[in-house]
Structures are given as structure tokens and as C-alpha cells.
């Protein structure tokens, strides 16, 4: 009897201390992707009917100005462009090959920025709550207005989401409104942006890219015609 009680007591003690060390403290295993999107609430997306898609995907290294690798490698480049095209057509837009016949231009770039200071790189332009993002000025950004033959700088009329900071490998999809060109002040506006954080790290990047680009559109129903 005495032995049994001591045995039970010892096991209870052991259980108590072991249970306190159990798995809850471990980090979860899973993808860290975050799909985000934001848009200009004053924009009427239904008015857009045609789009031109950029022909390549830039690899914008914000940490190394001397980086020479400026194009995202295959198959990721094709996956991104194909999925954007599929989704735009599914939402009722028609693809065109020239800027002159397009209402909107779509860019896609991969931003590498482990330093996590993208928010602080915004520059305020004028007094109209217009924001400029630094990656547009990067030598490896593909799709800035000059790339399309437009002499202007691209501006946002809304603040970009804060979780841009502390990132490594963010896919950015940006929309330029061709009709918003202000030739006098050399401005053109970006009414929609979407992206995926941490997409360039981890495993199974190709499949995650497909799902992530689809999700960018799924959570942006206002684009649908």
C-alpha cells in the first residue's frame, strides 16, 4: 500500500513537470506567406476594360545597389505572368499588346529587402497625400512608366500596408492607370497593389506562387467586371 501510494505520487510529480515542458512552446511548422492587397477607394475599376502585361519580372534587390541579377528566374517568372493574365481575363479584362490601347498596365516584381525599412523609404510628393515607393527607382524594377514609354513618376494616392517592413522576397503586382497620366506634372497613378510576403523563401515556391497570385485577385473583388 505504502509503495503504491509513493509510486502514484512520484508519477503525478513527473507528469506535472513533464506536462509543463510540452510542445506548446515550439514554433509552428508551416508557410509564412501573407497575401496582401490595397486599392485607391476613389478609383472606378469598372471603367477599365483592357490591360497590358509587362513582359518580364524584375528581381529588385533593395539591399545591394550593385546587384546584376535583375530578372527573376524561370519557371517563377512565367508562373507569375501566366497567373496574372488568367486572373485578369477571368475578371473580364481584355489583354492588349500596346500601351496606347490599354487602360491599365500591370507590373510584377520581386522585392528583396531583408533590412525591413521600406515604409521609411516612402517619399511624400506635394501636399495631396501622394506616396512614392522607392522600388520604382531601383535599376532592376521592370515596368516603371519610362519602361512603358511614359514620361512620369508613379504615385500612390493611398498609404501602402505597414507589413511591408521586415521582409525577404516579396512579390509585388502593381497596376498603373494609363488614363490618370498628368503630363504637366509628370505624374501617373497606381490604383491597386497586391503582393505576397516571404514567397521567395521556403519550399514549393512554384505552387505557392500560383495560389498566392490567385489569392491576390480573390481578395480584390472590386476588380471584377
Amino acid at each position: 500500500m505504502r509503495f503504491t501510494l509513493i509510486n502514484i505520487s512520484a508519477q503525478l510529480l513527473l507528469l506535472t513537470f513533464l506536462s509543463s515542458c510540452l510542445k506548446n512552446k515550439f514554433e509552428p511548422v508551416g508557410e509564412g506567406d501573407i497575401v496582401f492587397s490595397a486599392y485607391d477607394q476613389n478609383e472606378d475599376f469598372v471603367g477599365f476594360t483592357t490591360f497590358a502585361l509587362v513582359d518580364s519580372v524584375g528581381k529588385v534587390d533593395m539591399t545591394n545597389l550593385g546587384a546584376i541579377d535583375s530578372i527573376l528566374e524561370e519557371p517563377y517568372r512565367s508562373i507569375i505572368l501566366n497567373q496574372i493574365e488568367v486572373n485578369m481575363i477571368a475578371y473580364g479584362y481584355s489583354k492588349v499588346s500596346t500601351v496606347d490601347s490599354a487602360d491599365i498596365l500591370i507590373n510584377a516584381n520581386l522585392i528583396l529587402s531583408p533590412s525591413g525599412d521600406l515604409v521609411s523609404q516612402y517619399s511624400f510628393v506635394g501636399g495631396n497625400e501622394e506616396f512614392e515607393a522607392d522600388w520604382w527607382k531601383n535599376a532592376h524594377y521592370i515596368g516603371e512608366p519610362n519602361y512603358w514609354g511614359i514620361n512620369a513618376i508613379a504615385l500612390y494616392r493611398f498609404r501602402l500596408p505597414y507589413y511591408f517592413t521586415e521582409d525577404n522576397g516579396t512579390l509585388l503586382i502593381e497596376m498603373i492607370d494609363v488614363n490618370s497620366l498628368d503630363s504637366v506634372n509628370q505624374k501617373i497613378y497606381v490604383p491597386w497593389v497586391a503582393g505576397v510576403r516571404a514567397i521567395y523563401t521556403g519550399s514549393n515556391i512554384g505552387n505557392r506562387l500560383i495560389q498566392a497570385v490567385n489569392q491576390c485577385f480573390l481578395q480584390s473583388e472590386y476588380l471584377r467586371h
Binding site: L5, S9, L12, K25, I34, F36, A38, Y163
Partner: protein, 214 residues
């Protein structure tokens, strides 16, 4: 070596003297009120160490050091606000460490079960981690806390001085952030304790039984 054994023996005797009580408890915490909206699942990972000093047969006071871990995984979901949308998986972690003074009022009984009411007062250290996708936000801090509690001590006839304990309490820590107003949970404890008082009680009981037999 002998000196150390003597010192150890002295303090053991002191701690296990008639008025002292030491116990360890396994703790289950059920989040309630606003805290439940932040983390819903019951925590099965908690423990505490319980020191008491019996001032009288019906009153004791002491220290209670407790720890509990809460966790919830929120599957992938999309959230909308203003002109933004975000899709991500989320994980919430919260660790609560309590440093409480405690006071117990026992109901005298002639049987081996001893019911009691208790109040624990003190501070809680809270470590709150929220993981959204690959982003981690943390929020650590202290808050005043209290726990009213009811419980039962089950004296074991043998070995001398040992008791099982079970109790139920409402824990309220005044710690708030954007996700909850306070840390509130109902806890259920199971534990084992040793006290010189129980040993003495057992001896008294046995002597009384012998006398009755005569």
C-alpha cells in the same frame, strides 16, 4: 559532506514541520470572457508550486508560483479593413507566470477530506506572441492578479503527511492590449502535497482510534 547533510536535514525538518505545507499542482486553464476571444482552446499545460504555513487549524497563508501556457492556431483566412485585405495563417501564444500571496480558510471536519476557500493576490508576468504569416508581434508585461478558489485536501492515511489536492478557481489578471481586456480563466488543479500538520493529524487520529478500541 556531513555538514551538508546536517544542513539539509535541518531545513527539511523545518519545511516539513507541523505548520508547513509544500505541494505541486497540475493545472488546466479554461479561457473565459474577452480572453476567450483571443485564445479559445483550453490550456492543458500548466503547473504550480504551493507553499503554505498553517497559522491555525483553519487558516493558512503562503506563496503560490504558477505557470500556464495558452496556444491557438487560426487557419488561413482573409481579413478586410478600409482599403486593405490580408490573407494569412495566425498563431497565438501566451505564457502566464503568477507570483501570488495566498490565504486559505479551512472548514474543520472529522473526516480525511478538508474543504477550503482561498484567495490568491499578486502579480502575473504575461508573454503574448502573435504570429501572422512570417511576422511575429510580441507584447510582454506585468499585471495585478487575483484568484478566488475553492478546494479539497484529501489526507492519505499512509504515508504520513501526504495529501492529494483538487481545486477550482477564477483567475483574473489585469493585463490588457488590443486583443483582450484582461486575462481571465477558470482553472482546475490536481496536485499532491506534504505537510507536517497532516502527519500530526494522522497520528492523532490513529491514537484516538486506539483509545476508542480500548
Amino acid at each position: 559532506m556531513r555538514q551538508w547533510l546536517l544542513i539539509l536535514g535541518f531545513y527539511s525538518n523545518f519545511l516539513l514541520a507541523q505548520s508547513f505545507y509544500v505541494g505541486v499542482n497540475y493545472k488546466i486553464d479554461i479561457p473565459v470572457l474577452s480572453f476567450q476571444k483571443h485564445i479559445q482552446p483550453i490550456s492543458f499545460v500548466g503547473s504550480e508550486i504551493d507553499f503554505r504555513y498553517f497559522k491555525t487549524d483553519w487558516f493558512s497563508f503562503g506563496l503560490n508560483l504558477g505557470w500556464a501556457s495558452f496556444y491557438e492556431h487560426i487557419p488561413m483566412g482573409t481579413y478586410y479593413w478600409e482599403n486593405n485585405a490580408m490573407t494569412a495563417e495566425q498563431w497565438n501564444y501566451l505564457y502566464q507566470t503568477d507570483f501570488h500571496f495566498q490565504f486559505h480558510f479551512y472548514i474543520p471536519t472529522q473526516i480525511l477530506i478538508k474543504p477550503y476557500f482561498a484567495l490568491q493576490l499578486g502579480t502575473s508576468f504575461v508573454q503574448d506572441y502573435k504570429k501572422v504569416g512570417d511576422l511575429v508581434f510580441n507584447d510582454n508585461g506585468w499585471g495585478f492578479g487575483y484568484t478566488p478558489e475553492i478546494g479539497f485536501l484529501f489526507h492519505l492515511p499512509k504515508p504520513d503527511g501526504l495529501a492529494f489536492i483538487t481545486s477550482c478557481g477564477f483567475s483574473h489578471a489585469l493585463y490588457k492590449n488590443n486583443h483582450y481586456d484582461a486575462l481571465t480563466n477558470v482553472n482546475i488543479k490536481f496536485g499532491i502535497a506534504y505537510s507536517g500538520q497532516f502527519r500530526q493529524k494522522t497520528r492523532d487520529r490513529l491514537e484516538k482510534a486506539k483509545e476508542d478500541a480500548k
